[in-house]
Amino acid sequence: MKFAYRNRSQVARRDLQFAVLTVVLLAAVVLKYPAFAAPDNLAGVLDDTAILVMLALGQMLVILVRGVDLSVAANLALCGMLAALFNREFPDAGVLPVLLLTIVAGGLLGAFNGILVWKLRLPPIVVTLGTLSIYRGVIYLLSRGSWVNENEMSPDFLAFTRAHFLGLSTLAWLALACAAVFIVALRRLPTARNLYAAGGNPEAAAYSGIDAGRMQFLAYVVCGAIAGLAGYLWVARFAVAYTDIALGFELQVIAACLIGGVAITGGTGSALGVLLGCLFLGIIRSSLPLVGISAFWQMFINGVVILAAVLLSARPQDRLRATLEAPR
């Protein structure tokens, strides 16, 4: 049982170690390419990573309760298309209705996942693999396969994500705000603590009067709502909406969670760790072109980082459970 625990202080220690590692990585890049440290460039890195941060925080909730949401990117794309179509129909409605629309729509898509997992007790990976395809299919039906381009979007729709305050974009501020809310909420919100309990030991949670299925449902709703909001942000940032935006992005989101120390077996993880995991990926992603390494190597390095992170942070019995060995 020597390695068998990761309590809060240990999670904090891991976060600290990982923060140091992230700073070391940043320092190494800056040493070679001092321009990387320019405030504008760092703000750009944060801007590039912002959507990943938000999605990973939502995904983390789902993984905490022993689930996974493969449909986040499809949810994002569907809500992004909804936002674009809404904006095309009502160009003068402003940004607020778009924000509300995407959050509610995303939340409903998440709730659909959650209901299937909670009430029908279907395995999360199967449910969200199914809804991943369904949500992408719905985009095609809504848009009839066509694109919504920049010239069909209203100026304030596009300007929202690009506005800057104190040197950071709205996107970056939103991501930081999300992270701050998550850090406080996961520590201090009773429901969030029940999330940890349900993911850590569902049976003991049941005896404490916690419905683990309901906790999974809540996690999916929040994850979906964030994905919906991210849909608008994505479409506005890249100024285009079509069926295949953010295709496969869910894998990067899950990777960021794992690198950030969220245990795929549930019950362990911190919002700070997830934020760091995203920044770590973001720094690698934006520094590789400087070093002159191709996109292929970027995927390769991502993969190595994931395996290394999981190898270093997983508890030995988690690893055992993840393989096909019989429980003992």
Binding site: Y5, N7, S9, R188, G209
Partner: protein, 483 residues
């Protein structure tokens, strides 16, 4: 003063299997009641009803004189019923302090008030005299300490009824003493305690009242003062030894298996016995005595740390094991009957490495007929069979190998009477054909009816050997539970 908690006429069935069929129980303030009963007597079901996890089909619960229901675990907590679960239901990832307040966090402005959590947790731990702090990670605690965490959880919820479900099963003597100290302290503070255990010495040390369940029915209760051990044993086992299938008389032959000083760290030690041809050797003991672990080592699923297993046959002994958990260890549920029976017999079925489904089906059909397995055919999935028929499939897959020694671990647990008789018949015939059988069972009537010789295990050691003539229920139970 009337009892704090009164249960009367509780009934509970699970899919046609009766777990409780009229149970009464009284728990008094400032008193420790010992609950006794063989495995399957209905003790766990009672604990689950009191925890709010199961609902009784019939019967009444009175708390402090008021008729009440316990629809959810939250209601049990609000009522003041705390449970120390045998399987240690704690949250390993969380700290001790948080474990005490899961789903009942003290709040300030809707947020968890960690200062109060910390302070109240530490106060309760100090009151209990715990040797660990509130900030400790639960995963780093011993099982005994995790029990203390569960008791502390009951205390922060102001529990007035505390249920201790076999808390001592995996504790050392010193840890037991510590637990008893805390239990007495709570008793003196006016709590009503229910103490479930298999160990008689603990009952007389700790409890002042007793209640005995047998086959889901209350068969006795009262103050412990005048009641002796023999009386309790008589109440526990006092049923006629039913024997649906008479065992064949056999003359044991040559020695088939010789086990010497076998041991495995933390599970059992110094086990020596022999098994002869034609013999059924019973191994009796309470849950946790190390019987299943011994079976796993004999079969080769686990490694022995000491001693040797030898036999008369050159190149070792062919041993088969029908494990206790037929659903996870005995069979592959989604597979067909044919595929399950084929698994340990692939070498015979596919001599050239090519499995022919026709011979696989033929083998399965043979055993379906031989054991009267109720199934549509060899292609039916094992998971769709009844428990008794599943067990017959597990038996068939090993019988088809014709092993020299067959180990049966609780072979009739949870199966109906008809299937039980069939299993007994197969066992008897297999031994009669000159093989050896080791029968592990917690059911006294079964052990006594079927065995030529009985070994009794307690806490990882052999505590007695009985011939068929000497093996009376009270002698076996005494050997299995005495210190």
């Amino acid at each position: 003063m009337p009892p704090l908690l009164t249960l009367s006429g509780l009934h509970k069935s699970f899919g046609g299997v009766r777990a409780l069929a009229g149970v009464d129980l009284e728990l008094h303030r400032g008193s420790i009641t010992a609950l006794l009963g063989e495995n399957g007597a209905g003790k766990s079901t009672l604990v689950k009803i009191l925890s709010g996890v199961h609902q009784p089909d019939a019967g009444a619960i009175h708390f402090d004189g008021v008729a009440t229901r316990i629809p959810t675990p939250t209601d049990a907590r609000d009522l003041g019923i705390g449970v120390v679960h045998q399987e240690c239901l704690v949250f390993e990832h969380l700290t001790v302090a948080e474990n005490l307040f899961v789903n009942a966090h003290p709040r300030r402005a809707g947020l968890v008030d960690w200062d109060t959590v910390q302070r109240r947790a530490q106060a309760v731990l100090d009151e209990l005299g715990a040797d660990f702090g509130a900030r400790t990670s639960v995963a780093s605690l011993s099982i005994a300490q995790k029990h203390v965490v569960q008791i502390a959880r009951a205390l922060v919820n102001d529990s007035r009824v505390l249920i201790l479900d076999e808390p001592t099963a995996s504790l050392s003597q010193r840890e037991c003493a510590e637990l008893f100290r805390i239990a007495r302290k709570l008793r003196d503070a006016g709590c009503a305690l229910l103490f479930i255990t298999h160990r008689f010495e603990e009952i007389f040390e700790l409890a002042d009242r007793y209640a005995v369940f047998r086959d889901g029915v209350s068969v006795g209760a009262g103050a412990l003062g005048t009641t002796g051990r023999d009386e309790l044993i008589r109440l526990m086992v006092g049923r006629p030894v039913e024997q649906l299938f008479p065992k064949q008389a056999v003359q044991p032959g040559e020695i088939l298996l010789r086990v010497e000083n076998l041991g495995r760290a933390g599970e059992f030690e110094d086990i020596s016995f022999t098994l002869r041809r034609g013999e059924i050797l019973g191994i009796y003991g309470l849950v946790g005595a190390g019987r299943s672990e011994l079976a796993q080592v004999l079969f080769g699923a686990e490694r022995a740390h000491a001693g040797s297993i030898g036999g008369s046959l050159a190149g070792g002994v062919d041993i088969a094991l029908v494990p206790e958990d037929r659903q996870s260890q005995g069979s592959i549920l989604p597979f067909s009957i044919a595929a399950n029976i084929a698994l340990p017999n692939l070498a015979t079925l596919a001599p050239r490495g090519w499995l022919r489904s026709r011979s696989e089906r033929a083998l399965a059909q043979h055993w379906i007929d031989a054991l009267a397995i109720k199934a549509e055919g060899p292609a039916q999935a094992v998971q769709s069979l009844s428990g008794g028929n599943q067990q017959k499939v597990v038996l068939a897959k090993w019988l088809a190998r014709k092993p020299a020694v067959l180990i049966l671990d609780e072979p009739t647990k949870g199966i109906d009477v008809g299937a039980k008789a069939a299993v007994h018949q197969v066992m008897s015939e297999f031994a009669g054909a000159g093989h050896g059988v080791i029968l592990i069972s917690s059911e006294l009537p079964e052990i006594i009816a079927m065995s030529d010789r009985v070994l009794v295990m307690r806490r990882g050691r052999l505590r007695g050997e009985f011939t068929r003539a000497d093996a009376t229920p009270s002698a076996l139970l005494r050997a299995a539970s005495d210190a």
